[in-house]
Structures are given as structure tokens and as C-alpha cells.
Point group: C2
Chain length 410, copies 2
């Protein structure tokens, strides 16, 4: 966008900045890479960039992506699930943030050569380098991203992670898409935006221009204050708070402004055949919550006091209330919400509970700032009928067996 | 605290939970460690626990800890500075969170064998395993931690990082210390708390019981939703929001309730000789801010529009206002604060600025919810006189040279 050769702030830190540090007496700059594997080398490496204790091995749970295999014949797809039962706060660690892949290994993008093009129905098509984008006014906001495949499912084999592990919440940093569109100048008659990805499967998705102009949609380069990791879109991804994850494209290379939704490969045919809107797609996600302890796949260590813990979120805005039932839905009590309850962000709740032994069914119910209430599985089924719902936000019941095992009760 | 053998939730995920996942058709659990270094092995490893792009090498800047060498004769001390100029949001990535060490390599603590003892002037001394602590009601809160050595310093060689890199902000998860003390029962006459660390240098620090009972002091096991990394206290550290970092002990093994402050090795003699309170120590940190772009050690890529960005924080509570001056302090304008502005947490601010070329001096000034205002270096010096101040929150001026280099102007 600008003519002059831009130098990244990191280059400065590594070059001029590091040289300045070197001037300080006693300075001993170290590099994160290229150290010999001596004990001292390892110690220096860990000082430069930390690592987990050797006693910590929490990992994403990887599964074959069967939808991808069955519908597209591509054997390379996979899902990697957030270990939600291990997540202690609202921030999902970037190395553990879920991945849903339709056969895309992360492209190995050189940031110096990457470009973002704003084109289509605009007055001035623009091409940005990463350095140029980073010079524009940026915002940092905490938002969840959730895959539409994330939902309670029948079957005792389903754990917290296999039903709810395709959601994560990060502090995303980037440039509001509205600012880029204002620079480019949106033409009269423009109604839609098509995001374009550099991934091998050439993902592209249409979403309404109105959402892009709201100011909350970001062209993001930072996740939890680091560059986004390759599996989640390095160096750029779209963050469209509250919308289905499939629109929040990774490896973003283009934003095309159009007068109508494009029906790209990923927006037609088998992938969306069971969705019943005229466009074949939904965007927004209603109120949702899940108990993460005690939850499916876990086991209570004993009778007595336990703290029920979980997360709630909504595509409509902030979470206002979470209720918990420990008697199969007969009675409900307000859980304690832990601040900050941010719009379109995971919110932590907790509720004290005493397990006297015997069977019990635990569930949580979210109400958001719009007043929408999370439905039961029965209400959800009545509404959607034979169609597969685009967003599965039905209440998740967990059954405690008399020996303390926690099972999916759907 | 409880008799029964507790099983961690991670053990469940690895054992019973993983077995359940294995039952799901197509499930292919992977481990984060122990994979052969084949391309497929590496791909699976990265799916299980992500890594940065090979083009990203941001690291902590490590320096010898001269205070430690001069005052204690220990050559092993070091500081590792947060690369604050690269931090895009309020969350400091755990691998990049600053470390200040007085010669402690992180102890290699087996979580199954670690204990926390609550003792001293209590009715019921208690010993907790980690599993027991994790069963107690927990909270997750976003707070900064800052070393008292973090402060503007005279000298053009000082960069953003060498003056302000000893601060970080994380989402900490743990059990309120007030809850543990209520369980133990504080005796009449108790006034102080001494935190005790397992580190090689046996750090121990006294702080007022009143702070421990406020409810915001945490015995923390989680940082940004992962177990705290070894350099920052794995498996347990004290988080005392708004207090000097030196009280927020890593590798926490004991909490002793006392009737008076202990004068431990780290609380007397050379380390605190220049502090002028009767106790020889301060706790609280006043309002502070720093511009992180453009900042010392960086270089402006060219004339024209720039967005001044920075962070503000205060030990008194939330940040209410940040003003920016671009003319050496003659005039000030309100910067835009980015929510959430949380108590005792880093808060992001930004301000548009056009550099027409030529010299300029940029600075920021924070006002917190108590109404306290960040002082200039002159005001700060007048107040503290010949004494070294315990908390250096004077305003940091950055000078832009006529070629766009950014230098410390103190």
C-alpha cells in the first residue's frame, strides 16, 4: 500500500535492536534456534523461549476427519481437538487450539512474500504486505472460534473432547476488515464478501458485507500475543466473532467484495446439502455451555465436595447467566460467572456440588445478553426435525455412574 | 487434605479417557512426545502440540543479573526479558514471560510428590497434594506481574526491553489463598504471611495477612490455561495482584502465618539496604505505562501515519485513562483504551500520529481508578531523593531522531 520499503519490528529487534542491547555491559543475547544440544545450550534455549515441564504432556486429541473422507474422498483430513478438560482459564493455549482440516497441511508461508489483496466491487483494489498491515491501527480482542461439527452427540463413547473439543478462545490481534474496506472504497451494489485462502484445498466462503462493516471482523496476525501458529492460519486469518468457524479462513490471501454470495466448492453440494436455508448456510451461533468437570471421559476421585466447572459462550454477545442442574433437569440453580464475561468469548462458570454416591445427571444452560436460552436436546430436535442443524448448541447432559465414571447421557 | 487417593484429570484423559476415545471408530490418539523424527511423525507431533512458524523467532532477551552477582557473589543469576515490542495483546505468551533469577535454575519438580504446607499461627496445619488443590474451588484472573527492577533508566543504550521488559500479564488459575487460610483457621494475633519457595536459593518473603485475606491472592497452578512453565514456578506460584514481583514466589512449598514479618535473607541486608521504610520493603505498585511502538531500539520505517501503541497497568486497580504527548510533554491528548481494562492487568492503548520528519519526543501517562497519576522522571526524583525507589513508575520518554531512530530520552 505504501511505496517505501518497510522494515519489520522483529527485524529491528534482531538487527539494530539486538545491536543496541549488545552495547549494554554484560548483555548476552541468545537466539531461540541453532544452539548446540549441550546442557548449557539447552538452558539458554529455554531462557530464550520456555517449554513445559517434562511432567506435562497435555495434547490435542487427533481424529481422522470422516466427513472429509466420505464426502470428498480425501484421506488427508483430520481433526485435532482442544483438550477442554485441561483448560483452566478462558484462553486456549495456541499449541492446543483445535484444528479442523479438510486435507490442508499448513502451507509454509514466507511472511516477506505473503500478500493480502482487497478486490472485487471496490474503488481502489489494494495489495498489502504483512509489514504494511502491521502499521495500520490494530485491535486485540478475546473471542472464541467454534467448528460447526462441535456438538453433543448420542453414544456413551463420546467424551467432553469428542463432543465439545472443536472450540477455542484466544486474544486475536489484527486490523478491522472495515478499515481495509474503507481504504479500498466499497462500490454501490456491494452486498457480500468472499474470503479467499491460500491453503491447498482453496477454501473460499461468502459472508454478508454488513458483518464485515460492523468493525468486529478482523484480519488477524496475532493469537495470544504471538504470530498465529501455522495450523491456525499463519500469517493471516479472518476472525469473524460469533460466526461459524468455517467462515474464519486460515492463510488468508484475498478479500473479494461482491454483489451476491459465491457458491464456491465449499459452499455447495455434499458439504452443505443438509442445510435448509436458501443460501445453504448459517452464520451465527446461539448460546451454548458445557460442563468440563466432571465431564464425559473423566472419573470422580471420590464422594464429597466437588466444584462443577465449565465454559459458556454465545455468538449473540456476552453470556449473562448460566444455570446448573444436578438432578437430571428437575431443578436448576444459578452458577457463579467469572469475569470478564466478554462478548463472543468463552466465560468460565462454577458451582459447588456434593456427590453422595449413586447416579446423577449434571447439565448446564446458558442465557446470553439477547435473552436467548440454550435448548434441551429434545427442544433442539423438535425445531430442526430431520435436518442437520448448522449449529449444535443443545444442552449436554453428563451421567455420573454409581462408581463415579462420567458418561455422555444423550 | 483428603484421605482418598486422588486421580488427576490428566491421568484420566491419558488412561480411561484415552481408552474411551479409542473406542470411537477412526480414533487415532497421538502422544506429544516420543515420536520418531519421520515427516509423518513430526506432522503428528505438531497436530498434538503446535509450534511456531519457522519464520518466527521472537525470544526473551537474556542478560546477566548484575545485582545478583555484585550483591550475592553468585554468578548464576540472569534476567530474561519479555520482548514487549513484539507483544500484540494483553496476554504475554508463557514461553516469553520475563524471568528474574537470583541463581535458581528451575527445580525439576515431580507434581505427584510436591506438597504445599499451610502452617504457623493456624488452628489446623494442612498439607495439600496438587490433586487436592485442584479439586478446590478455583478462579482464573488476568493479572500482570512486574519486577521491581523494571523502570526507565538514563542512557541512550536502554531499549524498550532493557527498561520495561520485566513485566508480563497472564491469565492465572488457582485457589484463593483466603480459602486455604479459612480451612486452616487463622489464630488470633496473626498479622503476616511468609511465602516459602522450593528454589535452590530458598526465597522467602513476608507480606501482610490483610492482603492474603482479600481473596485476590492466588496459589496458582495455571498460566494461560496450561500448567505454569518451570521458569515461572511449576507447579505452584503465589500470585499477589498489584504487589511487587518479588513477593509472588515461584515453586511454592509453604505458607506460614506469623505475628510479625520475618526478616529472611532476601528481606535484609544488601538486597534491601536502599529502601527506606521501617520494614525495608514496599509492596504496592502505582500507575505506569509505556509506549511499545515506536519505542527505544526500534526505527520508524518512514514518514507519514503511525499508530502509537502501548500498555498501561496499576497495582491500585484498573487503568482509567492514558494520555499521550508527541511534543515532549507540552500538550497531552487522551489515547484510546482497549477493553477489557481489568484490575491489576495490562491494558492496551493506541493513538494516531503523523511523523512529518524531524525530531520528536513521545511519552504516555497513566491515571488509575484511584486517581493516582504516573509521575514524570523529575517529579519521581524529587519525591524519592537519593533513595532508590522500590517501584519505578516514572514516565518513559522516547526520542525520535531525524532519521527515525527511537532512543531513550532520559
Amino acid at each position: 500500500m505504501r511505496e517505501e520499503r518497510a522494515t519489520t519490528r522483529r527485524q529491528l529487534l534482531k538487527g539494530g535492536g539486538a545491536a543496541l542491547v549488545g552495547l549494554a555491559a554484560g548483555a548476552r543475547p541468545t537466539a531461540a534456534q541453532g544452539l548446540r544440544s549441550t546442557p548449557e545450550g539447552l538452558a539458554r534455549e529455554l531462557m530464550a523461549y520456555g517449554r513445559r515441564s517434562r511432567f506435562v504432556g497435555t495434547s490435542r486429541i487427533t481424529l481422522d476427519n470422516k466427513v472429509n473422507m466420505q464426502m470428498h474422498g480425501d484421506p488427508n483430513g483430520f481433526d485435532a481437538l482442544t483438550p477442554l478438560g485441561e483448560q483452566t482459564g478462558i484462553i486456549t493455549p495456541a499449541p492446543l487450539h483445535f484444528i479442523s482440516s479438510h486435507g490442508d497441511p499448513p502451507p509454509d508461508i514466507d511472511p516477506a512474500r505473503h500478500r493480502l489483496m482487497i478486490h472485487g466491487l471496490v474503488e481502489r483494489p489494494l495489495v498489502f504486505t504483512l509489514d504494511e498491515l502491521k502499521r495500520l491501527p490494530s485491535v486485540s480482542r478475546i473471542h472464541y472460534i467454534e467448528c460447526l461439527a462441535n456438538r453433543p452427540r448420542p453414544g456413551a463413547e463420546h467424551t467432553l473432547e469428542t463432543s465439545h473439543g472443536m472450540v477455542g478462545c484466544s486474544e486475536w490481534t489484527g486490523v478491522p476488515l472495515s478499515l481495509l474496506l474503507a481504504e479500498a472504497g466499497v462500490q454501490a451494489g456491494a452486498r457480500w464478501v468472499v474470503g479467499e485462502s491460500l491453503g491447498r484445498t482453496q477454501q473460499a466462503r461468502s459472508f454478508p458485507l454488513g458483518k464485515a462493516l460492523l468493525g468486529d471482523t478482523l484480519v488477524a496476525y496475532g493469537q495470544n500475543s504471538e504470530p498465529i501458529q501455522p495450523h491456525n492460519g499463519y500469517p493471516l486469518r479472518l476472525v469473524i466473532p460469533g460466526f461459524e468457524g468455517k467462515f474464519q479462513l486460515k492463510w488468508l490471501r484475498g478479500i473479494k467484495v461482491t454483489d451476491q454470495p459465491y457458491v464456491t466448492y465449499w459452499e455447495h453440494g455434499s458439504f452443505t446439502r443438509r442445510e435448509r436455508t436458501p443460501l445453504g448456510s448459517y452464520w451465527e451461533q446461539g448460546p451454548k455451555s458445557v460442563i468440563t468437570y466432571p465431564a464425559g471421559g473423566q472419573r470422580l476421585p471420590g464422594r464429597g465436595h466437588h466444584t462443577i466447572v465449565g465454559f459458556a459462550w454465545s455468538g449473540n454477545g456476552a453470556v449473562r447467566r448460566v444455570e446448573v442442574s444436578t438432578d437430571g433437569g428437575r431443578t436448576w440453580a444459578d452458577a457463579e460467572l467469572e469475569g470478564p464475561a466478554l462478548p463472543m468469548a468463552m466465560t468460565r462458570f462454577r458451582h459447588p456440588w456434593t456427590w453422595a454416591g449413586g447416579e446423577a445427571v449434571l447439565q448446564s444452560r446458558c442465557t446470553d445478553e439477547r435473552g436467548d436460552v440454550q435448548p434441551t436436546a429434545a427442544e433442539f430436535g423438535d425445531f430442526w426435525g430431520e435436518y442437520a442443524a448448522p449449529h449444535g448448541n443443545q444442552i449436554q447432559p453428563w451421567k455420573i455412574t454409581d462408581v463415579g465414571q462420567v458418561l455422555n447421557a444423550l
